[in-house]
Symmetry: C2
Subunit: 430 residues, 2 copies
Amino acid sequence: MHVDLGSSLDATPGVSRESLERLDGQVATAHERIETGRDNHEHGYEALNLPSTVDLDAIRTAVAPFDDAAAVLTVGIGGSALGAATFADALAGPNDPDAYFLDNVDPEHVSRLLDALPLDRTVVNVVSRSGTTAETLANFLVVRDAMADADVDWTDRTFVTTGESGNLRSLAEKHDLPSLSVPDGVPGRFSALSTVGLAVAAIQGHDLEAIRAGAADAADGLSGSLFETPAYAYGATTYALAGRGAVTNAVMPYAERLETFAEWFAQLWAESLGKDGLGQTPARALGATDQHSQLQLYRAGPRDKLVTLVRPRDYADRTIPETDLDGLSYLGGSSLGDLLDAEFEATEASLVESGVPAVRVEIDAVDERSLGSLLYEMEAACVLYGELAAVSTFTQPAVEWGKNAARGLLGGGDFEEADAVDERTSLVVE
Amino acid sequence: MHVDLGSSLDATPGVSRESLERLDGQVATAHERIETGRDNHEHGYEALNLPSTVDLDAIRTAVAPFDDAAAVLTVGIGGSALGAATFADALAGPNDPDAYFLDNVDPEHVSRLLDALPLDRTVVNVVSRSGTTAETLANFLVVRDAMADADVDWTDRTFVTTGESGNLRSLAEKHDLPSLSVPDGVPGRFSALSTVGLAVAAIQGHDLEAIRAGAADAADGLSGSLFETPAYAYGATTYALAGRGAVTNAVMPYAERLETFAEWFAQLWAESLGKDGLGQTPARALGATDQHSQLQLYRAGPRDKLVTLVRPRDYADRTIPETDLDGLSYLGGSSLGDLLDAEFEATEASLVESGVPAVRVEIDAVDERSLGSLLYEMEAACVLYGELAAVSTFTQPAVEWGKNAARGLLGGGDFEEADAVDERTSLVVE
């Protein structure tokens, strides 16, 4: 990716070039720590080795039985869905098998989707490292039941992506299902470039080698200076701006194909960095649409934001026809891409004009190679930020409490967290 | 809607019952101001009169020629799309004409959509009050051209929703197109309950009378006390929490059908209240999915957030089949709805346990009547918040700068804002 920090230098909050130069010594130290973690295959850091460890042949072998698929349904939540969805939405072609994601347990949504899918030509990819994720396993049980009702043999249409042991591994062995292993040491939100994120892309016929090559390029480019490494430029600048008051990071791609990328980024950023009272809240936006929704707030609201503007440099454009409509002749003969680019640059300048920091992130195109680089570099940016902030980047301890409470409420064991639910205070207005 | 403030009382930041009681005097004054604005049909306040002013017959008449539609394509951006999209996504039935929205000028997205639509059975609804919104008019020119290429007479398949004069009004008169008027005094983001938001719902066969009845109930329920009016309970509490440090409002519906409602809310909140250095940043989330993405940050990150948990009380449930999978028998025989409700309550309790304020918003069901109430009440909540904060709720001055810059960049006139784009500072890392 190409990062331009210029619009964050003189903003409020802002970070000066001199501050970035001072910070670069910490970046060098953090880079050393990251390289040591990678060399020793430490938990989390191992994710940054995926370009050299991911086994693309294993993915192709696992999905080979499904070359007739009309649709692929991923049953997984959080990191088990968002990486695959990012690739699917970015790379979707008109003739690909459609990709769907059951990443929620809304009963109406599940029923609507199952009613609409051609189950006899749908591949089901169940993804859970532990094999016990409540939402994923509940949905899988429902999907299996719907297949039985439709006289489809689920064992012919299912493959699992899971750890070396547990429910799903046992199930795969019992029914001889194709299976993939979730790599050790790679947290879910860092698994886009592994079996977890790439199996759907394989079924859809996308170029896995190019994704890996893009990520490998990015890995090779990591150096000890933020001025030489786009990933570190982004991670160090967002870290510096957060410390200077930019508690929100509005990530605004100017490409519909990258809307899910912003969701993937939001999980990466929130779950990795939101701890010890620190962290930067990701706000998901979309250009140019959200200029008509969020821009008023960004420009004139509290000075607590950074806006990350993302766009591809190359894309298929479309001409705007000539028109004699009053006051609109300037649009005619131009293109939608010209308009979108003008809005991108105008929005960036309007943020600068009001003193709001912005970072420009560009990729060459929305294609496999650029996406491989982009995801790898945003992961590296996040790891660097975590090092600078001295937080535990690869854990998510704060979500356990609610899991225990929910399980207790459902009669799945005796959890004191469930008792707290009954003790809550009410003040109802209706 | 039913609002429960209990989980925001003892939080950090939090608001005590005593503080709310002290604030209630200001609520009474603000309510007087709102009622005066409504009585005098003042700009903005007039939106709260829509339940008695909207002309449902005019909507039905305008869309009557299109009762054969397979799809309805709205060409509009911001408030010209989000209200209609909220109803469409919330109320979608399997046999409705499909609703699509061209609310962005991404050329690839526009081309993909136009390639996929059956243009000879698609109704096009062009929505722009001024008739000069660059994105909307550019897209309309492209759509018209695509229809010509497909040998479809666009004048047979188009209706416009616009002001009393301007490009689109002239076009409607010239070609005798069905048309609707954008009501005076109603800003786009407050227009969901008007012609702007309801025309697509009419084409899809939804019950406009019920939407209006729900909104009318809510209008009748406005009183001078936050303890008697759910809309004011929500508006006053969010205002108080923002002042006490909750600069982000994460709106998290536990229903896929309400995901677009969260987008609509985000525009309402950001564009109305984001001014004078004030305002609360809306973060769009979705339960239960974002428990696996954002909850770690909400619980353990900076103490600068309020979480608004939204759910319907009634919905079509789906049983989870019995299972002998290891450790999952507790799910079998339960339902997806039980699981989702347990997660809702567990998440709320987990926020309370970590001291993060939460507000519970419930509606009876995701149906026309409840949606009419919900949207009206959130608008009233927003207006109240604006009164308490003493901001200019109904304007959006900060977006003009960028519009001028973009227009200048495209050769649409001599705008000094465009010059600023060329003067920006760069610091590129690649």
